[in-house]
């Protein structure tokens, strides 16, 4: 080719060079864009790939009583961990041999005794597989291992790279059943609980969020103070490869141990209350084998601090760690709805709603005195006829035990627990204003949430015409609805039958059958709507003596007595005194007593009622014998024998023993409330618990030297 002939091709090749240069310019510009202009963005993305933040669990705080006695702690439990990072040190496939070797050593303590070494190794492989997206975390292969196995693994450490024996903290309750329900227990958070726990204001303040897999308190103090007990998680930065296997580790933030929670409760006093209540229940069981439950509360009247809180049947939180056996599950949460009330996990002092019986009579007295319906010295003849005409007498409740106490004023009526006197006083108050008694009750914390720092308290019901109307309107509406549905069903069922009935006689038979069914439905409806919506005289009588709709928790009853004797200050009850730094023991936060309200009842009336309560445990009082052998005792109380169901039913024959008390008389210190289910007379059951509690608290001795 000569030059002239080449020329066009040369030009075209120059064109090709231009294309090549252009392509390289485009590629270079794109690289500049990626590496220089947006380099920091891509850096962050690449970093996010490999840097995983791993939580380091903090040690959960201890719980101690007011004297520092240890009630809940975390103890180390030894587990076998398998760590990918170190296991990788084994060459090639040798790590599989390591796992097999490990399976051989742990076989004696493997939960399933019949498994072969090979099948254990399979399980371990599966376990590793399950955690393959978080291989930077060590996997627990076996927990609760014996010191012997620890020694074996330590001895063969060289052939087991990646295998380690580590101590992990496990909750322990050294006092077993002491304060079981109040302390609660700890388990993994459930999905619905995540949202619930995240409402905790303390947690929100520091931006802490609960997440799946967290261990949390499931009830009691463990739950309500969970945020403080759990401490702060540490953060470890782990560099991982594309299979999420760890490559290196670095601690960014040390874990911060949880706070020590110091309770207001006194473990020794608690033990006395527990043991006495157990003994009382045992004694009742001799007559009534169904008796097994009860509750008692001792509280400081000048602060609202709970000093003791017992619920029976007892709960040992240690039973609820790890795998819960069927037997334990049935004990704490019975499947059978009929036995639901027997659940040992119930804190009856807080969630058990009991009719207060005669212990309610102070509310009736205070309401009558405050609304000037009576004076302490007005005398009533203790006869049913004092209620009024035949109609009133039919609606009233007779004197208990068929007694006649003669002429009774406030003090005698309280000492003797006269039903007639309080029925009359209550009726007067209800007639003048049906809401007064309920209002006074609520001022003393009855029928409202106490605000105690424990989860799950029951609210209770204080008598009110308003409440009755709402409650029964609801019942009546439901009854009407189910009646109409049932009648409509009968119509549609019988329409074709009547049509098909060929002969007249046959038709009449079917019609008769239909009428009978309709009558049955109507009768049932009548029965269900028997109770009128309006407040009745019998409502006044029943509720004045603590029956009827009244239902309160022992905590509410104790707080009610405390409010009477401390001069009318309604404190919020609480169980946690302060939070301590777990290392230094310094107080981090002190919880102060809080007055929720001051009652409207005048101090004079409070004093008169207190005096009346003093008459119960002395002189001719219903519990005069109780403290007879304790010369140092001063104070007061009120017995109660609460009918559980309506008269003429089976539960109408069963009585809960209720007792409330305070001591000493001058400048009272402590209040007590106790309920023994199926206990009968309150003084003879719960009364013993109060006596033991007071003797323990004040160091009183009885004359027998006990």
């Amino acid at each position: 080719m000569d030059d002239r002939e080449r020329k066009p091709y040369t030009y075209r090749l120059w064109g090709l060079s231009a294309v090549v240069v252009l392509i390289f310019l485009i590629l270079s510009f794109n690289l500049w864009r990626l590496q220089i202009a947006q380099g920091s963005y891509y850096s962050a993305m690449a970093k996010g790939n490999v840097m995983k933040l791993v939580k380091v669990a903090p040690t959960r705080g201890d719980i101690v009583d007011r004297n520092g006695k240890l009630l809940v702690t975390s103890i180390p439990e030894f587990v076998v961990h398998l760590n990918w990072m170190d296991l990788q040190q084994a060459k090639g496939d040798e790590w599989k041999d390591v796992v097999k070797q490990l399976a051989f050593y742990i076989q004696p303590e493997w939960p399933n005794a019949n498994q072969t070494v090979e099948s254990i190794a399979e399980d371990i492989f599966a376990n590793i597989q399950n955690h393959q997206w978080e291989r930077y975390r060590p996997v627990i292969i076996l927990d609760e291992i014996s010191p012997e196995l620890q020694a074996v693994i330590a001895e063969h450490q060289e052939e087991l790279p990646g295998v380690s024996v580590d101590a992990i903290p496990v909750r322990s309750y050294p006092e077993t059943t002491l304060l079981g329900q109040l302390l609660g227990y700890v388990r993994e958070i459930s999905d619905p609980e995540i949202a619930q726990f995240n409402k905790d204001t303390d947690a929100q303040e520091v931006g802490f969020e609960y997440a799946q897999g967290d261990l949390v308190g499931k009830m009691g103090v463990e739950k309500s103070y969970d945020f403080w007990l759990r401490g702060k998680e540490g953060v470890q930065q782990v560099e991982v490869d594309n299979n999420a296997r760890p490559v290196s580790k670095q601690i960014i933030q040390e874990a911060e141990a949880g706070k020590t929670v110091q309770l207001t409760l006194d473990a020794d006093l608690q033990k006395t209350v527990d043991d006495t209540l157990d003994q009382v229940i045992l004694d009742i069981q001799k007559q009534n084998p169904a008796a097994h439950a009860g509750a008692a509360v001792v509280m400081d009247v000048n602060t609202g601090k709970i000093l003791a809180m017992t619920s029976r049947p007892a709960m040992d939180p240690n039973d609820l760690i790890g795998i819960i056996s069927d037997q334990m599950a049935d004990k704490y949460w019975p499947q059978d709805p009929k036995r639901a009330s027997e659940a040992a996990s119930l804190n009856r002092a807080l969630t058990g709603l009991y009719p207060p019986g005669s212990t309610f009579k102070m509310v009736t007295a205070m309401s009558a005195l405050q609304s000037k319906q009576t004076t302490p010295y007005e005398q009533i003849d203790d006869r049913l006829s004092s209620l009024g005409g035949r109609g009133a007498q039919q609606q009233g409740v007779e004197e208990w035990g068929g007694n006649y106490f003669g002429l009774v004023n406030l003090y005698r009526a309280m000492a003797k627990s006269s039903n007639i006197y309080f029925e009359i006083m209550g009726r007067r108050v209800f007639d003048s204003n049906p809401e007064t008694i309920g209002q006074v009750a609520r001022e003393f914390g009855l029928g409202i949430e106490s605000g105690i720092d424990l989860p799950g308290e029951a609210k209770g019901i204080s008598p009110s015409a308003e409440w009755k109307k709402t409650y029964f309107t609801n019942i009546h509406e439901n009854a009407l609805k189910s009646r109409d549905e049932a009648l409509a069903k009968i119509e549609s069922d019988y329409a074709p039958k009547l049509e098909q009935a060929a002969e007249e006689t046959n038709r009449q038979l079917v019609q008769k059958e239909k009428d009978a069914e309709i009558k049955k439905i109507n009768d049932l409806y009548k029965l269900r709507t028997l109770e009128p919506l309006e407040w009745q005289a019998y409502d006044s009588y029943n509720n004045s003596i603590g029956q009827g709709y009244n239902a309160y928790t022992p905590v509410q009853l104790a707080n009610y007595v405390a409010t009477i004797v401390n001069g009318g200050k309604h404190y919020r009850p609480f169980v946690v005194d302060k939070l301590l730094d777990s290392r230094t023991g310094e107080t981090v936060q002190q919880f102060e007593p809080k007055v929720l309200n001051t009652v409207s009842v005048s101090p004079e009336i409070l004093d008169q009622v207190k005096q009346a309560m003093g008459g119960v445990t002395t002189g001719e009082g219903t519990a005069n014998w109780l403290f007879a052998d304790v010369p140092e005792f001063t104070g007061g109380g009120k017995t109660g024998t609460a009918q559980i169901g309506s008269k003429d039913t089976i539960s109408g024959e069963i009585y809960n023993g209720v007792f409330v008390a305070f001591a000493p008389y001058d400048n009272p210190q402590v209040a007590f409330a106790g309920v023994v289910e199926f206990g009968g007379h309150g003084g003879e059951t719960a009364g013993y618990v109060a006596k033991a509690a007071f003797m323990k608290y004040f160091g009183w001795k009885n004359t027998n030297g006990g």
Binding site: L13, W14, L16, V20, I26, L27, Q35, Q38, Y42
Partner: protein
């Protein structure tokens, strides 16, 4: 061959070839170190073997006068077709494609790599003989049919990447051979438009009534090949497969910044987040560990290499040599464009290695053979008139 011919050798071209080969070993000594844990230097060692044997191949080919290949053009063309047929009928399948012929358990070749060289050699001859007769559209038909046979066989494997390399070689050689730029360019644009419309119809879901019949038009492409196109448009749409690979590659290159994370200091490659980081995605490792400085330096080496190749081509003794050089340049350029473009997110994933750098024997041999051809052209270049 005349001893004096050695003085014709383009020293810069040879120097940059060696610089690229050395870069390959340096890059693989970090990029491939974690591929076989028990043998970290496996790929560096085998690559050294491929380079050394490749140099021998290049020298042998350089020594042979390239014009001799013209005598064997139909033998070569036939051999190429037979080889590709053998792959289709007796080849070994890996990752859904049949591309390999194995001689032993571990030694095998990828005939499609060599097909590129064979087609350059034979097509250059075919075009050289039609010099000056490429002015009309009907003149384009015989060259197109000449290419179509081997291209279809490779497309069938399936190997979309190499098929596209053939397209690039075809376009480059046709253009330099004198195809009427308006007619040929118009035809290419028209072809591209047809491909675009067909793809659009295939992916469309809400066409107007009169076009309903064409909605979701079936295409003769594999599912994964179409997916790659979709993913190329939106890498985040597929966070597990190819889309994930593209993202990982972008993060690797981007996170390198100006200076890079240092030799073996990368995380994307070293911790295996990057797929195929010793072959198709080796450029991402360069970007991550050597930064913008590293990628630009590597591109600079390639650019000089290609410009020297074009220079050699311009000085070729005859039309045949010129077209061989053009084919080789087109092939290398397209490889670099697609590979670098793919790893940096401006080209779809097609599984084309980075020439002379990526680990792999067949590619190294065929690339070295191409360099040998260029050298052969270089040694016998036209005497310039001074």
């Amino acid at each position: 061959m005349d001893r004096r011919a050695l003085r014709n050798l383009d020293v810069l071209f040879i120097l940059f070839t060696f610089l690229l080969l050395a870069a390959s070993l340096v890059i693989l000594s970090t990029a491939s170190i974690n591929v076989i844990k028990s043998d970290p230097f496996h790929y560096v060692e085998t690559q050294t073997v491929w380079i050394v044997t490749g140099i021998v191949i290049a020298v042998v080919i350089a020594v042979i006068d390239y014009q001799k290949w013209q005598y064997f053009r139909w033998w070569i063309y036939g051999f190429n077709i037979v080889l590709l047929l053998i792959v289709i009928f007796f080849g070994d399948t890996a990752k859904g494609a049949t591309r390999w012929i194995y001689f032993t358990d571990s030694i095998g070749i990828q005939p499609s790599e060599f097909a590129k060289i064979f087609i350059i050699l034979t097509f250059a001859d075919f075009l050289a003989k039609r010099k000056g007769r490429l002015n009309d559209i009907k003149d384009f038909i015989p060259p197109f049919l000449f290419m179509l046979g081997p291209m279809l066989l490779i497309f069938k494997q399936p190997d979309l990447g190499t098929t596209l390399v053939f397209v690039a070689i075809f376009i480059g050689m046709m253009f330099v051979a004198g195809a009427n730029p308006w007619k040929f360019g118009g035809l290419l644009l028209g072809g591209a438009a047809v491909v675009g419309i067909v793809l659009w119809l295939h992916f469309s879901t809400d066409l107007p009534g009169w076009l309903q019949w064409a909605q979701g038009l079936p295409l003769p492409l594999q599912e994964y090949q179409l997916n790659r196109l979709v993913i190329f448009m939106d890498p985040a749409s597929d966070r597990s497969g190819d889309g994930w690979h593209i993202l990982q590659s972008l993060w690797a290159i981007g996170s390198g910044g100006l200076w890079g994370k240092g030799y073996r200091g990368g995380t994307q490659g070293q911790l295996n987040f990057l797929p195929e980081h010793h072959t198709d995605f080796v450029f991402s490792v360069v970007g991550e560990e050597f930064g913008f400085i590293g990628t630009i330096t590597l591109l600079f080496l390639f650019l000089i290499f290609l410009l020297r190749s074009i220079y050699i081509t311009i000085r070729a003794r005859d039309m045949y040599g010129m077209l061989i050089g053009t084919g080789v340049v087109s092939m290398f350029t397209f490889h670099i464009l697609v590979n670098v473009g793919m790893t940096s997110g401006i080209m779809p994933v097609t599984g084309i290695p980075l020439p002379l750098i990526s680990a792999g024997g067949s590619a190294m041999w065929s690339n070295m053979a191409a360099i040998g051809l260029l050298l052969s052209v270089n040694l016998r270049h036209r005497r310039l008139m001074f």
